[in-house]
């Protein structure tokens, strides 16, 4: 998907997948553009938070949502030069099914001069019932103004 979308998306994919922590969690940028991003993360033994059930730790899902939210902000048409998370709230609807890849979709639905507002959701193979939803605010770092 992202490869087809052209140069900008390819650069974004390389950029996000090169982030050390995203790499450690084996995140994969599936799609990006116009303030939206889709990032997936495979199940892994390392990420298990409940040894008795094999369910992935909430922290790993937060990390996925955070990365996806940041990517959505960066891809907004009012393109900020960079972004950082101000706050992020995650609601956990149900445990993710062990063994299944988790896919996060984030949308930056509003950008002001200095803040990007994001909502996101995460699913496993059951697309009808979200594993988690999230809402967050991100900084919008503007490139240095070019004087007219």
């Amino acid at each position: 998907m992202a490869q087809k979308a052209g140069g900008k998306a390819r650069i974004a994919k390389q950029f996000i997948e090169a982030i050390p922590f995203s790499k450690a969690l084996r995140m994969c940028l599936e799609d990006i553009g116009d303030g939206r991003a889709v990032i997936s993360m495979p199940w892994s033994e390392d990420l298990v938070g409940d040894p008795q059930s094999g369910v992935i730790h909430g922290g790993a899902v937060s990390a996925l949502m955070d990365t996806c939210g940041g990517a959505a902000v960066m891809s907004h048409p009012d393109a900020p030069a960079g972004t950082a998370t101000i706050d992020l709230r995650i609601d956990y609807m149900r445990p993710a099914t062990p063994g299944q890849r988790i896919v996060a979709r984030a949308e930056c639905y509003n950008v002001t001069r200095s803040v990007g507002f994001v909502r996101a959701s995460a699913h496993d193979a059951d697309d009808a019932r979200p594993v988690a939803t999230a809402a967050g605010a991100f900084t919008v770092e503007r490139p240095k103004e070019v004087k007219a």
Partner: protein
């Protein structure tokens, strides 16, 4: 001569508590993956996330990844909450740490929601965090966590989370697994009932 058992040697008490904590922490693969361990003083835990290059989110600054920070806070909250009830179980004698095995450990609380405030850039160095259980009832618990690096008075992130506690009231997967029932259901309900009324945790637990 045998009227009253002698108090146990301090080393025995310490070993028993550390063993229970170790089982709790080492049982969670994600905690190991993140390089998080816990320092215990009495019942108080301080979490330590050892710096590692893989925790970086912005290589140019460089800064820790927001997701790594969120993970650190959530791990600290869950284990802090779980430790509090395990501590009560052990100290009251309802659970014998010698009998604890990875299979019979109490189930961990489940996160309902978790909100992280990022206050400052996380620098590429070790991080510390402490959780405070503001309320722990039969079904729900509210936990606040603060994380800092060099200076305790300047936290770089904080979070509040709500959790389903794993006792009988916790619902969801109460009946799962045959072996785990022993230490959990009834004991926990009772233990938590005591601390429930108001926020008296701080005073009552200081000793």
């Amino acid at each position: 001569m045998t009227s009253r058992p002698r108090p146990e040697p301090v080393q025995v008490i310490k070993e028993r508590r550390d063993r229970a904590l170790d089982l709790l922490v080492q049982g969670v693969p994600y905690t190991r993956f993140m390089g998080i361990d816990f320092d215990r003083r009495g019942d108080e835990l301080t979490a330590l996330m050892h710096y590692d290059e893989k925790l970086i989110g912005n290589p140019f600054l460089p800064a820790l990844h927001g997701g790594a920070i969120a993970s650190f806070l959530e791990v600290t909250a869950i284990l802090g909450l779980s430790w509090q009830s395990l501590w009560d179980e052990i100290e009251s004698g309802r659970v014998a740490p010698e009998d604890l095995t990875p299979e019979t450990m109490p189930r961990l609380p489940k996160t309902i929601d978790f909100t992280v405030d990022y206050l400052r850039t996380g620098l590429p160095r070790d991080s510390y965090a402490r959780a405070r259980v503001n309320r722990s009832g039969r079904r729900y618990a509210s936990v606040h966590v603060e994380a800092w690096q060099d200076n305790r008075a300047r936290p770089f992130a904080q979070a509040t989370g709500h959790f389903l506690t794993p006792g009988q009231g916790g619902g969801q997967r109460a009946g799962q697994g045959a072996g785990q029932g022993a230490g959990q259901g009834a004991g926990q309900g009772a233990g938590q009932g005591a601390g429930q009324g108001a926020g008296q945790d701080g005073g009552a637990r200081g000793g």
